[in-house]
Amino acid sequence: MSNLNINPQDSAVTDLDTAFKPDCAQMRQTPVQAEAGQAPRAESPLYHADLASMAAKGPLEGGVQLQELSLLGHLVIRGSLDNPAFVDGFAQVMGFALPGKLASVEQGDASVRWIAPDEWLLVVPGNEAFELEGRLRELMAGHFSIVNVSGGQTILQLSGPDAVKVLKKSTGYDLHDRNFPVGKVVTTTFAKTQAVIRRLDAQQWELVIRRSFADYVWLWLQDASAEYGLIVRG
C-alpha cells in the first residue's frame, strides 16, 4: 500500500478547517453520586489482586516497589500541532502546552504524555475527567478528538534500586539515563504486551497498561522482581 496519488502533508494542510466544531457525544462515565460519596463500587483493573492487603502482609524489604494508581481519569487527546485552535485550546484549559516528542509535562495533579505525533495521554483525578473534557471541547476547534479511556487502562508505579533491572527484563528499550532522562515517555513492548513507560526520577518509573492485560503484567512483574524482593504499596 501507500498511495502516491495524494501527499498527506499537502492534504493535511490544505483541508485544515480550524473553525469547524466537531459534533461528538461526550459522556459522563462515572456516577454522579461519586461526589456525594455513596458511589457504586468501582473496581480498578488490579482490584482482584487486592494490593492493599498484600501491602499490609507483604515484605517491607526489597529492591523493587510497586503501586497501582487506580481509578484516575485518562483522556486520549488527538489533534494536529498545525491546528492552533487545538494547541491553544489545550494550553488555555491546562495552563501549559502540549509536550513535544517523547516528552511529558506534570502540573499539580494533571500530567500529559506524548504518545504519537497527533496523540497525547492526559491523566487527571478520576472525578475531573468529564468536566475537563467538556472545557477542552469548548476551547478546541478544527479536527481533533478526545476519548475518555479511564476504565480501559491503569497506571503502575515501579520504583527502587532494582526497578530498572525488572524493566530491562521486560522491554528491549534502552533505559539508560543517557537515552531515558527523567520526564521522557515511550510506548513500547513490555513482556508480551505493551506499556507507556515514563521516567519519574532516577529510580522511579511509571507504566500505563491496558486493563485486560493488567493481570498478566502483574504476574510478570511479581516474577521478574522475585530475585530482588518486591514491596507492594497499597
Binding site: 501507500s2 502516491l4 496519488n5 504519537a116 496523540e119 528499550y173 510506548t187 505493551q194
Partner: protein, 97 residues
C-alpha cells in the same frame, strides 16, 4: 534482529515494535470499477520482490502506530533510509546503480 529508525518518534527502536506490511508505493487504482481483473490483480497480488534494494511499508505497531516507509537491502538487510508516507525514497536502485 533489525534496529529501525521511526521517522515519527525520531529515534531507533527494536524490530519487535514494528510490523512489516510489504511493498510500499502501491497505488490503489483511483477508479477500481473500471479496472480489468488483470489490472486489479496487479494492485492486489503482483509484487517486485527484489533481491537488493526494496521500498517497503512498515508500521510502528507497539509505538506511535504510524505507518512509514523503509528502503532496505533484502540481501544484506541494511536499512538505507526510513521516510514518511507520501514522501519519496532518496535511495533507489536507479540512483545507486
Amino acid at each position: 534482529m533489525f534496529l529501525i529508525y521511526c521517522p515519527h518518534c525520531e529515534e531507533h527502536r527494536e524490530e519487535e515494535e514494528f510490523h512489516a506490511k510489504g511493498q510500499a508505493h502501491i497505488a490503489r487504482p483511483l477508479d477500481p470499477d473500471n479496472c480489468t481483473d488483470e489490472e486489479w490483480a496487479q494492485f492486489l497480488y503482483f509484487r517486485d520482490n527484489p533481491r537488493g534494494l526494496h521500498h517497503e511499508l512498515w508500521v510502528h505497531a507497539s509505538g506511535c502506530r504510524k505507518f512509514f516507509n523503509i528502503t532496505r537491502d533484502t540481501q544484506s538487510y541494511e536499512i538505507k533510509e526510513t521516510y514518511k508516507v507520501g514522501e519519496q525514497p532518496g535511495v533507489t536502485a536507479a540512483k545507486s546503480a
